[in-house]
Symmetry: C2
Subunit: 333 residues, 2 copies
């Protein structure tokens, strides 16, 4: 295993320190328990957004802490859920008295641990709501989930609900927006190569020299099928069709699309893939109202991509365009 | 070779189309000859910045076209210089009557082809100046260069000179700023793994399972030494020291630093490395006035990193903070 690291056990903390060092105006990193939180917390009267999950998916979630997005993120060990202590500490660090929204990707450990933290906080009269993101259409159940996995739509939930909270929306209103985004987002991914978890030191799974995996999970969980390597446009067609069909997208509807790299994919290839994503949507009569192309929710060094579609209306699009200033996403400020 | 592409010969054009599709408000892509240029070109009265180079280093240069940075970028084939026709066409597309600054990384082919284009344009009474970027301290001469290679400082030249041009500076003034940035920037990189050029289909070089290359070039050219895999902090110490010593950085001086991924390196690892970069600079008494962490000048799917240091004064720092809106770099707007 070749990685640019020091001790395997120190990766999460050292990356947290590095994130805070690079963005001293935006975020702070607390080591015990591990929390990335917005500089200047708490913000009195603001509904606070807290997310988190296993590390290895950067920039998710710590890279999305800042103005107009998350108030705090809890990084677990690589591919391991954060523990309830982290979410509880995060909530207390950023609680501005207007309640907390937990944004949880649908993995069994995450769901359980965020639930436990919510109970602890409610016992202390802090209002907590939860939105579950379960947008991955590849498989019905999975290695670590009952129901669909939570993947790329999480980025859209964090951005759009974060904009509502920044504008002063109540917890109930921020939750409504977050649920709406979660309901309108769909994703599917694929892998050209496996990732290598540092603590294990060898690839999570084996793919032949000309094999790819369609419908892969962000922890290397199995997807829909292993198949022969094919051209980008065929791969993209499969990914786009799966999400568009599941959303029952109709001609004239609008989407925001994310062509996301799994961590080891060159941007050159992501733009090739995005060209095909964009064309396929237009060929279906879908309006592309916004696009992200790059690494937003990754799987360590895995090569591959995922495509996320979010059906938007005027309300969601307006919040999408609202200012955001985080390490990984910034506009309007 | 596993890549997310269609035909190998179509990669550059399809990525150009994808870039333009993702950012219709910012850039246009012209296929023949290949030019990425700013939407709304030409801008009357504005000094125009044009750069370019082989593809495979994305987001450089096409991802830096937009407000406050480049007016146009000429993508060559992968790791191959663009031809003079491209730079000539680019200059004509964006010429606002105030002259053109060519920003050229120091590789023999690039230097020759930009020079030829400059001659063609001058023969037509278009004012052209050139700034050469040669910031890589790893080796004195190289496979494709006489003198030092041009690498990460290019990003800083494009951003800072671009800000001056956006504010209305004359060609002579923009050139002065660009030369100043080029003089104050130094870089060195390292590779954990080789890249694979699509047209070749196999790794450019071989590294053993526990070997790394220090001082690697962005085309996989040999560096200073092959050595055993070591901890990030030792690697980073080597890279930072080489640039800091060459710059003769003194206590109390200010730098902007870029901890750059080579394309296949997870962001998690780049933040681990950046933590050490930041600490080493502070330990030397250097003030870190700004930081970029991520993929800015890459080498296809290579795993590894480079560190670029730019000594700044009030003038450069002010231009650094000025608004920029490009596909890959955005703030203040």
């Amino acid at each position: 295993m070749k990685k640019l690291i020091n001790l395997v056990d120190a990766i999460v903390d050292e990356a947290g320190d590095g994130l805070a060092a690079a963005h001293p105006d935006l975020v702070r990193y607390q080591r015990d328990p591990r929390v990335v939180y917005r500089a200047g917390s708490p913000i009195r009267g603001k509904t606070a957004l807290v997310s988190g999950g296993g590390s290895g998916h950067e920039p998710l979630h710590g890279g999305f802490v800042g103005l107009g997005m998350l108030n705090a993120a809890c990084p677990g060990e690589v591919f391991t859920s954060p523990v309830p202590d982290q979410m509880e500490s995060a909530a207390r660090l950023v609680d501005g008295g207007a309640g907390i929204l937990f944004i949880v990707k649908n993995y069994t450990g995450d769901v359980m641990n965020f639930d436990l933290a919510a109970e602890l906080l409610r016992a202390d009269d802090i209002a907590v709501s939860t939105v579950l993101v379960a947008d991955d259409v590849a498989v019905k159940d999975s290695l670590y989930t009952a129901g669909r996995r939570g993947v790329g739509a999480t980025v859209f939930v964090e951005k759009i609900a974060g904009a509502a909270a920044e504008r002063g929306a109540s917890l109930a209103e921020v939750e409504r927006i977050a649920q709406k985004v979660a309901a309108e987002g769909r994703s599917m991914g694929m892998a050209l190569t496996s990732c290598t978890v540092p603590a294990k030191g060898s690839p999570t799974f084996e793919l032949g020299a000309t094999e790819i995996e369609i419908g892969i999970g962000i922890h290397g969980e199995p997807g829909r099928e292993r198949t022969a390597l094919r051209e980008a446009r065929e791969i993209v067609e499969t990914l786009v069709r799966a999400s568009a069909d599941d959303l029952e997208l109709r001609r004239g509807e609008r989407v925001i699309v994310m062509t996301n790299g799994m961590g080891g994919t060159p941007l050159l290839e992501l733009y090739v893939a995005h060209r095909d994503v964009d064309r396929m949507l237009r060929d279906r009569g879908i309006q592309v109202a916004g696009a992200l192309v790059g690494n937003y929710i990754t799987s360590l060094d895995m090569q591959g991509c995922s495509v996320t579609l979010l059906r938007v209306d005027d309300e969601l699009l307006d919040l999408w365009h609202a200012p955001v200033h985080t390490p990984a996403l910034r506009w309007g400020v």
